[in-house]
């Protein structure tokens, strides 16, 4: 019953997010601040992880190909497919659920604990629109982060391939060009937009409706990370089934 009630409250929150919008001059500032907090500040960690995980994918693929009949360019092909289809959109989103999600939950949760949300409501402001909507708009730039992750994942793979001597740079480049299906990029970005929506709204829900004090803010951040990850993984399965099968 509690889960159903929470799901209902989540959808009511989303509906309320579009009611009585905040003045554009104020909203603009909030959106720019959230772009900085959620997008710009994530690029560093995403770049670092993408580059090295791309390298690891390449090394593991190369080490598992022992058959001399399998062409060397397959390392580049496998890296590209793994990075575009799964690693960048899904794996990075789970990491972002930890980084961005816990930031959103703890910042909104702290505002709840310190009565700042009540202060907004008492002033006659739609606090859900004021707090959640700018995060949703900012995270619509999330595909940019994923583009960086895709690019650096493939570059990381190439670096590992060349440094480790698993194949030549020409073979790797041939591999990443082989049997390229443009729809896979579309598929990756459709997933990215859906995950961006989840990353903005689920952590906000857990922050906005939390009760208690500082300890509960920490607990809400953990719960928000768990549920955002679970929903991302579930929707990843459903979207893959719908779009690729």
């Amino acid at each position: 019953m509690k889960y159903l009630s929470n799901i209902g409250a989540y959808f009511l929150m989303i509906k309320e997010m579009f009611n009585k919008p905040t003045k554009w001059s104020v909203m603009k500032t909030l959106i720019l601040k959230d772009i900085d907090d959620l997008i710009i500040n994530s690029i560093g960690i995403v770049s670092f992880i993408s580059f090295f995980v791309g390298g690891v994918i390449t090394i593991q693929t190369a080490l598992n190909i022992s058959n001399p009949l399998i062409p060397k360019y397959l390392v580049g092909f496998a890296t590209r497919q793994s990075v575009i289809l799964e690693f960048a959109p899904t794996f990075i989103s789970v990491i972002m659920a930890g980084k961005v999600g816990s930031f959103i939950t703890s910042s909104i949760g702290t505002m709840r604990v310190t009565e700042q949300i009540d202060a907004l409501e008492v002033m006659g402001i739609n606090s859900i629109n004021y707090l959640v909507f700018p995060k949703l708009v900012a995270l619509m730039l999330y595909p940019f982060v994923i583009s960086v992750a895709i690019f650096l994942g493939i570059i990381g793979g190439m670096a590992a391939c060349v440094v480790g001597g698993f194949s030549s740079i020409d073979d790797y480049i041939l591999g990443i060009q082989t049997d390229f299906i443009p729809f896979h990029i579309t598929y990756a970005f459709i997933k990215t937009f859906v995950f961006a929506f989840l990353l903005a709204t689920i952590p906000s829900f857990f922050g906005y409706y939390m009760k208690g004090g500082a300890l509960e803010v920490g607990k809400a951040s953990t719960t928000s990370f768990v549920w955002t990850s679970v929903v991302i993984i579930l929707l990843n399965y459903i979207l893959t089934q719908m779009l690729l099968s």
């Binding site: 003045k23 104020v26 310190t114 700042q116 009540d118 008492v122 002033m123 006659g124 402001i125």
Partner: protein, 253 residues
Amino acid sequence: MIQVTDIKKSFGETNVLKGISTTFDKGKTNLIIGQSGSGKTVFLKCLLGLMNPDSGTIAYNNNTYTTLNIDQKRELRSKMGMVFQGSALFDSMTILENVMFPLRMFTKLSTKEMEAKADVVLKRVNLNDAHYKFPSEASGGMQKRVAIARAIVNNPKYLFCDEPNSGLDPKTAIVIDTLINEITNEFNITTVINTHDMNSVMEIGEKILFLKDGHKAWEGTKKNIFKTDNSDVTDFVYSSKLFKKVRKMYIND
């Protein structure tokens, strides 16, 4: 004027408010007092519309608040100012930005005009050189004064304060009380204060509402609180030896 008629509020099996009726007059400082758990905060939250009473009505100038929809409530709330117990200042904004916030949200003033208005109000609460500090850099007393400045900057018709003196030293507490009282008279607004502080009761209580176990146990002014023989009130207000002596002296005089 705020008219409250027979409001009741329960949480599960616990009846927190058991039918309270009263009137808060315009231009007066109204105090709600009572022990912890007597229902003061719930009562204040019902007045603000942060909680809905289970039954009864709250009317602002004969406009029944409890029957308004959420948008109408927000419209009415834009005419309210609230000073929270923990000040509830926005951490990410400077003191000046905090005070300018209601103006930014509800007026079409230019930034310069907003700054000028916020500056006047900050000076009114005796904060002359804290404009660019963040709330975390301000003392408890300063934060309370900023919260008052933010509450009054958009000329509210109603001012609510939840324990404005909690955590303050006696001298600063008197400064805050005097400030709220002066602002109430100056702007002719309806002020409702939730407090435990008996100094406030004696200093600024133009009307006092005493709550006990969710009931209205007594209602009066700071003058007749000395003379009352209501044992609930005397046990609470004169619980300290000092206040007992003060009362004796007052009655003997």
